[in-house]
Every structure is written in structure tokens, then in C-alpha cells.
């Protein structure tokens, strides 16, 4: 079954590139431009296998978005990767406390991105 990945980022360029990389590897990609939209997409689409989210977005940022997702038991086992250029320890901690599974730094190497996605959502 095709894996679904939700990508949340306020940069269209970033969404396009993520889509390109992920689709090229056979994933189905859902998109949202900020945390609120991300929640809307989840509400509508239900199951996703991985969530990749930026931190700095208007309307609802990544940290809040992740906290919200984690409040929903349906996504308990869904890995959430933060994709961001921020790299301070404090931000990492914040991300983790919000419930993030992992962290990827932008700019990403497509191969690395795929590897991390594969790593957190392997085919068992």
C-alpha cells in the first residue's frame, strides 16, 4: 500500500521540492501551508504514515501543530519529522517536547530525506 506523507511548510518552493522527492520515491504526498491547514488536511484525510513539518509558519506554527496532532490518539504512532533551518538546542528540545519524532535540517539532501523517512516508517 502506498505510504502517505503530509508535508507542511509555508514555502511553496519547499512543498514542491518535498513532493518531487517523495513522489519520486513512490510516496503519496499531501500538502498544507501552515499548521492549521495541516490539521484540516489530517481531519479530512485521516491516516498518514509520516508527517513532515516546518516550524516557522504563519497562522499556526509547527510546534503548535505538532502538539495538536499529538493530542489525537489516532496519530500516536505517526512519526513527525521537523524540517527546518533552525538548529539550536532549545528549538530541538521544544520540538521534542511537542512530540516530534525527529528533526531534519534544511536544506535537505533528497537522499538523506528519503533515508530518514524510510528510517522512521519502515516497511515491516
Amino acid at each position: 500500500m502506498t505510504k502517505r506523507i503530509l508535508t507542511v511548510d509555508d514555502s511553496k518552493t519547499m512543498l514542491d521540492m518535498l513532493a518531487f522527492t517523495l513522489k519520486g520515491a513512490g510516496y503519496e504526498v499531501l500538502q498544507a501551508e501552515n499548521g492549521q491547514e495541516g490539521l484540516d488536511v489530517l481531519a479530512k484525510e485521516g491516516h498518514v504514515d509520516v508527517i513532515i513539518s516546518d516550524i516557522n509558519m504563519p497562522v499556526m506554527g509547527g510546534i503548535t501543530f505538532i502538539k495538536n496532532v499529538r493530542q489525537n490518539a489516532a496519530y500516536n504512532a505517526t512519526p513527525i519529522l521537523i524540517l527546518t533551518t533552525e538548529s539550536s538546542a532549545a528549538k530541538k528540545q521544544e520540538g521534542r517536547e511537542a512530540g516530534a519524532t525527529g528533526w531534519i535540517v534544511k536544506p535537505f539532501d533528497p537522499q538523506k530525506l528519503l533515508a530518514v523517512v524510510q528510517k522512521v516508517s519502515p516497511d515491516f
Binding site: 516546518d54 496519530y75 500516536n76 513527525i80 521534542r96 517536547e97 528533526w103
Partner: protein, 749 residues
């Protein structure tokens, strides 16, 4: 690559937009007309540009953007002030980054060092703001911490059989063949929290395997019987024996994300004395019942008492005891959980609405119960009385949910004052009073702009420059007092300055010039003062940067009015001015006095009512060309005949045969409303007329009475305004209308 080109195009398009937004934000910062949202937006713009640029390898752009972004980040956290000089640096940086983007797009490089000087300025700011050193480097360096984690991955698929080849990790990036092979013993005990973050132990084990030679033992000691198992809990513990060249860092990186969510002990067997591990651990580790490790982690840190993570905590046996977070960062998890819940605003609104309906129904029951002979159903009646009490309490509680202290809005003001004062070279102190006054959330959100505007106004126009003040014997520093209080069922917010007051001649002259007021019109002082709220009004001789743009005051007023509030100004020349803003305390419910005029019923806000009386005929006087007034205690109060106003044919025309209800507007002026009789006092739920019909001057809303009939809620100030207009025959726009002028309804529903 065709797609790459397409992405680039998208990217540059996006950059255009972002740069446009950035420009706007920087301009706002320059004029001092900005708040933390502006900084957030500016940060996001650079952040996005940097992200995309990195993807395409635009090194110079990335590096510059990184420093720029760092400074913006510090600014929005108030670690670097957004003062004039710094904002100038921001503006220059904005220009530079625009040039860099253009260069990237056209693929023509700018001369080397083009951005160096500005970058240096940014670097200075960043360091002053305390940026971590590694933040200062370009994105590539910042990635190092994490690249290792990712580098630890080997991209050659390793068969799950876990063979000894170690996945050929020596080829993994960053691996150094000259590094020695080391042996580690790792004990790994995940907690339930780790699983909650969707971190899978299996995946971590796989990663470990890819760093070298791995042998795994699983400790099943804590695994309960199937029947007692909680599917969401963690019961397993593992021991790993790992031989790897990649060193301790690689292992740390693998566990980086889960460090705080598990018990982890890494021992480097190759090192003599294993100095890294501070504590002595009881040897037969396997005997401990996981996941309650009694052995402290190798990192020396405090052991906090068991902290439960918020809401998402499942029901594991309190085995999830002392865990610590990485780097000793105090877990903020526990704190808020007990004292607050996050609730959707929509849910609260729904609740408020439902309670409103409940109030209406209860009022109706109340009314019906009044018709039952009180001795026939005593319990029913007392039951209904109790119901009334409970409903009232329920209503108060629900309204209180939405109320928040004004502090959040007031908090922005000191900085605003500093910046504006600096800009116009005046000395100003801001005092705030009543920060904890609570106001409905929606109202608070709307308060920011009006307050900002009025404070700016006060500083820019109201206060005199220090020298002038000194000459007048005033202290050099002007004082602005910002206060909030509950008054008469409404919120009163005042901005009081001790400046020069309103120059009435100038204002009047300007008003006449603008045709807002006709020549020779007689206006009271208060009326002249309130002319400043007219659109396009500015008496600044030159348009100053800040508030003299002529756009603003009327917008401010309109925004407040949309909330059901009013703006008013009082001024004493030479001594200062006071802007008053009143807002309804609750947007939904009102204590009202129900009055009857002919066959129609109206509701007057109790808060506005001073008194009511049946006047003697001799106290009613007719003033030539002005209508009737009531003489009371030496004062003359305008009379407003509601039956005339609303064209009700059978209303009582003679005040001495009916009642006069004396009401006061927020501005303090009084009017006597002539009605037939007072029906009673009642709490009513306000239904918006504007939403469902349209704005009507003199009418604040509508409600459904206990009888089931609809009654209009009157707006006292609006009525007064209309009456004034009729009296003096001026055209509507000359009077500072407190409610947007609209056609008078010919007859109320």
C-alpha cells in the same frame, strides 16, 4: 533537470513575494509602526528564502540569509532591540538580500564581498544579542550536529538478518578509517513517552546496527502476562554490544531524539576506566525491573520527581518514574497541565450562545410564573426562582471564561511609547493602571490598534517638546496614563496625557475648512474636541511620519464602534487630554430596563440609566427652535420623545402624563427619554441587529423578551446624537455621531 528549473522558477517567484512582504515589514519597522507580528513575518520571509536557497545551492544567499535570520530571531525575542539604528541595518540587509536574490536568478554573480560589510553589521548585532556561536556560521555548519545523525545512516540496504558485515559503514560519510574500532556496551530502556513520540526502538536498533557490529539482547523481565499488558506501554529493555569505528558521537546521535525518553547507558569498554560514565552502576543490570531504572543515567543531572506529561499520558503503572531531559533542560511538561486546558474558541462561543438562549427561556418562565397565583404552586415558584439564580451564575461563569486581563495588550505599549518618543524627540513616561482588568477575548484582540494609534497621537500631538514643557513649568517628561477599569457595566479604557490639550481654534477652523462644520455653528467645547474623530482630520502643520497621515482616527473609532464601544475625548488646553474608550463588558448579555411606548416595547441599558420620574408640567420648558427641556435640580436636560422618534402613534406625548427616564451617555451628557411606562427590569440577551438586518442609529441591538416578543435595545448616545441633529438642523455628518449614521427605521419590528 527540467523539474529543477521549474522549482527554481517557483522559488524566485516566491522570493519576489517574500521580498515584497519583507519590504513592507521593514518599512513598518522604520516608522515605528510595528509589533512582534511584523518581526515574525519578517523572520519567516528570510527563513523561507534561506530554505529554498539552500536547496539550490546559492551559497552566498544562504549564508547572508542565515545571519539576517538570526538577527531577526533575536529581535522578535526582544534580545536585540528594534531601535532606529538596528532597523537601519535591517533595511540595508533587506536591500542586500534582494540584490543577492536577483543575482542568483540572473545567474550573474555580484562582485565578491558585496555583502560582507552588511553581513558584519548583522554579525555584531547577533553577537550582542547573544546568539550561540554555531548559529553564526552558515547553514552548512549549523547542519553539522544533525548531519552526523543522518550520516550515521548507511544507504546500502542491510539484510534484516543482521549479519556481521556491519553494513559497510566505513563508507558512511564522516567515518574515518583511521579511527579506531571501539567497543561499547549500551543499555537501552525506552519509556512509554518515547513510544508516544512515535519513536520506534526497532528503528534505533537498526541504526545502531549500521554503525558497526551489533549484538543484541532483550530483557524481558518487566513483561507482564498478556492479560495485564497495556498495548501502549513500554516493557522491554535491551542490551547492545557494539563494535564501531564511528565513535561515541555516532551512538549519541542515534539516540539523540530519544534521550529524554529512555534510560540510556553507554559504556565505552575500550576506554580505560570508562571515565565518561560518572556513576557506578549496580552490576547485574539485568535484574532491575525495567522500565524503572534505579541507576542514575550517565549524565549527572537532577532526578526530578515523577513528572507526568500533559494530557497524552496513558495509564502506565507509575513506572515511568524519574526521567530527565537531555542537557538538563527543565521539563516544562508538567506545569501547565493542572491549571489550564486549551479549548477551542468556537466551543466557548457555542457555550455562550446556548447560555444566552437559556436566559431567554428562563425569563419567559419567570414571566409565566408571575401569572400563577403564588399560593397554588409554591414549590414551582420557588423552583423557578432558584432557576433564575442558577442561570445568572451560569451566565457569569461562562462570560468569565472568555475574559482575559488587558495586560496582554497593555504589554506592548511601553515599547511603543519609547520608540515614538524617541522618534519625535520627546520625553515620555507611561503609567499603566488596571492591567488585570478582564475583558472579553475578542475585544482584547481588537484593542491593539486603537490603543496604539491613540498613544501615538498623544505623544506626537498632545505632548509638548521638553523645552516647551519646561517653559510652562511642567516637568520635562510628559506623562501618559493608560488605564482600564470596569465602570457601569462597561469597560472604560483611558489614555490621559498631560500635554497641551486640543487646540480648539485650530480644530474648529480646520473643520470649517473641510466643510465638516458650517460657519457660525455653535459647538460646545466637548463637541469641538470630538471633531478630531472625523475622517481625514489632522491638524498637524506638516504631516509627521507617525500619525499625521490623516488616516487613522476615524478608522480607530469605527473599529471600536463595531465592537459596540464608543470613543470620546475630553481636553483642557494647556493641561492635557483624555481619550476614553468604552466597551461593553460582555458582548452578549445586558441588564436592561424594559419600557413601553404606545404598543411598542424597548429596552434601555440599565448602566446608562440615572433615574426616572414623572415630571411636573411646570418643569417642562420649550426652548425656541430647540425642543423641550426638563428642568431638574437646577439643570436643563434635553427631552427626547421616543414616540416621535420611532413614529409610534399612540405614545404618550405629554411627559407629565408619562415618564421621563434620564439616561447618561458615556461622554457624560444626559438626555431625558419620554416613555409611557416602565415595564420592568430584566436581563436580556443581545441579538445583533447589524448582522441580521443593518446598522440603525439609536438602536444597539434586539432581544426577545420573556413574552416572546421582540424588543429593540436602544442606544442612548445614538439617540442623543439624532436628537441634537434635529434640534439644531445641522446635517448628520457635522455631529460626531457615536453610532454610524443610517436611515432611521420607520417602525421597529
Amino acid at each position: 533537470m527540467d523539474e529543477l528549473q521549474q522549482f527554481k522558477q517557483t522559488f524566485f517567484q516566491e522570493c519576489e513575494e517574500l521580498l515584497g512582504d519583507l519590504e513592507g515589514n521593514l518599512m513598518s519597522m522604520e516608522s515605528g509602526d510595528f509589533d512582534v507580528e511584523t518581526l515574525h513575518a519578517a523572520f519567516r520571509a528570510i527563513h523561507s528564502i534561506k530554505g529554498g536557497a539552500g536547496a539550490f545551492g546559492f551559497e552566498r544567499l544562504v549564508n547572508f540569509a542565515h545571519t539576517f535570520e538570526t538577527v531577526l530571531d533575536l529581535m522578535r525575542e526582544d534580545k536585540v532591540p528594534a531601535d532606529e539604528d538596528n532597523v537601519a541595518v535591517m533595511l540595508r540587509s533587506g536591500d542586500v538580500i534582494t540584490d543577492l536574490v536577483r543575482a542568483a536568478q540572473s545567474e550573474e554573480d555580484l562582485e565578491p564581498g558585496y555583502e560582507t560589510e552588511t553581513a558584519k553589521e548583522l554579525a555584531v548585532l547577533a553577537q550582542a544579542g547573544g546568539a550561540e556561536v554555531d548559529d553564526m556560521s552558515g547553514a552548512d555548519d549549523a547542519g553539522d550536529d544533525f548531519d552526523d545523525e543522518i550520516d550515521g545512516l548507511d544507504f546500502n540496504p542491510v539484510p534484516a538478518g543482521g549479519d556481521e558485515s556491519g553494513g559497510g559503514t566505513d563508507e558512511a560519510q564522516g567515518a574515518d578509517l583511521s579511527k579506531p574500532m571501539e567497543s561499547f556496551k549500551i543499555r537501552f530502556v525506552p519509556t512509554t513517552e518515547m513510544l508516544q513520540r512515535a519513536n520506534e526502538p526497532l528503528l534505533l536498533i537498526r541504526e545502531l546496527k549500521q554503525t558497526g557490529n551489533l549484538r543484541v539482547t532483550c530483557d524481558l523481565k518487566a513483561l507482564p502476562q498478556l492479560g495485564e499488558m497495556d498495548a501502549n506501554s513500554a516493557y522491554l529493555a535491551w542490551e547492545f554490544d557494539l563494535d564501531t569505528r564511528q565513535g561515541r558521537e555516532a551512538i549519541d546521535d542515534i539516540f539523540e531524539f530519544v534521550e529524554g525518553d529512555c534510560d540510556l547507558k553507554i559504556t565505552n569498554l575500550s576506554e580505560e576506566g570508562a571515565a565518561a560514565e560518572a556513576s557506578a552502576e549496580p552490576e547485574p543490570v539485568v535484574e532491575e525491573s525495567a522500565p524503572v531504572p534505579t541507576a542514575p543515567k550517565e549524565k549527572p543531572a537532577e532526578e526530578p520527581k515523577a513528572e507526568q506529561p500533559p494530557a497524552a499520558a496513558p495509564k502506565p503503572k507509575p513506572a515511568a518514574a524519574p526521567k530527565e531531559d537531555a542537557g538538563g533542560a527543565p521539563a516544562k511538561k508538567a506545569a501547565p497541565a493542572a491549571s489550564a486546558i486549551r479549548v477551542d474558541v468556537d466551543k466557548v462561543d457555542k457555550l455562550v450562545n446556548m447560555v444566552g438562549e437559556l436566559v431567554i427561556t428562563q425569563a419567559m418562565l419567570d414571566m409565566q410564573s408571575g401569572m400563577i397565583p403564588s399560593d397554588e404552586y409554591p414549590e414551582l415558584i420557588s423552583g423557578l426562582e432558584e432557576l433564575a439564580q442558577h442561570t445568572r451564575e451560569l451566565q457569569d461563569s461562562v462570560m468569565a471564561i472568555r475574559a482575559q486581563p488587558v495586560k496582554s495588550v497593555f504589554a506592548r505599549m511601553p515599547r511603543l511609547v519609547r520608540e515614538v518618543a524617541a522618534k519625535v524627540n520627546k520625553k515620555v513616561t507611561l503609567k499603566t493602571v488596571g492591567e488585570n482588568t478582564e475583558i472579553d477575548k475578542t475585544v482584547i484582540e481588537q484593542l491593539g490598534d486603537p490603543l496604539t494609534h491613540m498613544i501615538r497621537n498623544a505623544i506626537d500631538h498632545g505632548l509638548e517638546p521638553p523645552d516647551e514643557r519646561e517653559a510652562q513649568g511642567k516637568p520635562k517628561e510628559g506623562i501618559i496614563v493608560l488605564s482600564a477599569e470596569h465602570r457601569g457595566g462597561r469597560i472604560l479604557i483611558e489614555i490621559k496625557d498631560d500635554g497641551r490639550g486640543i487646540n480648539r481654534e485650530k480644530v474648529l477652523a480646520k473643520a470649517i475648512e473641510r466643510g465638516v462644520v458650517s460657519e457660525g455653528a455653535q459647538l460646545s467645547d466637548e463637541e469641538i474636541d470630538n471633531l478630531v474623530f472625523q475622517p481625514g482630520f489632522s491638524t498637524a502643520d506638516e504631516v509627521t511620519d507617525l500619525s499625521g497621515r490623516g488616516v487613522g482616527m476615524d478608522v480607530v473609532v469605527r473599529n471600536i464602534q463595531n465592537l459596540g464601544g464608543r470613543v470620546n475625548i475630553r481636553s483642557t488646553p494647556g493641561e492635557g487630554s483624555t481619550f476614553s474608550l468604552t466597551l461593553p463588558l460582555t458582548l452578549a448579555v445586558l441588564d436592561g430596563m424594559v419600557v413601553r411606548v404606545g404598543t411598542e416595547t424597548y429596552v434601555l441599558p440599565l448602566a446608562n440609566i440615572i433615574e426616572s420620574l414623572r415630571p411636573l408640567a411646570q418643569d417642562i420648558h420649550s426652548v425656541m427652535g430647540e425642543g423641550d427641556v426638563l428642568k431638574i435640580r437646577g439643570e436643563y436636560i434635553q427631552l427626547v420623545y421616543l414616540h416621535r422618534h420611532f413614529r409610534i402613534p399612540d405614545g404618550i406625548a405629554n411627559p407629565s402624563k408619562g415618564l421621563v427616564v434620564i439616561v447618561e451617555t458615556e461622554g457624560g451628557s444626559m438626555v431625558g427619554l419620554v416613555v409611557d411606562e416602565i415595564v420592568g427590569q430584566q436581563q436580556v440577551v443581545i441579538k445583533s441587529l447589524e448582522e441580521n438586518f443593518g446598522a440603525i442609529q439609536g438602536v444597539a441591538g434586539a432581544t426577545i423578551l420573556g413574552t416572546g416578543k421582540v424588543a429593540l435595545i436602544l442606544d442612548v448616545a445614538g439617540l442623543k446624537a439624532m436628537s441634537d441633529k434635529e434640534r439644531k438642523g445641522r446635517s448628520p455628518k457635522e455631529i460626531p455621531a457615536s453610532v454610524p449614521a443610517a436611515a432611521i427605521a420607520s417602525s421597529p419590528q
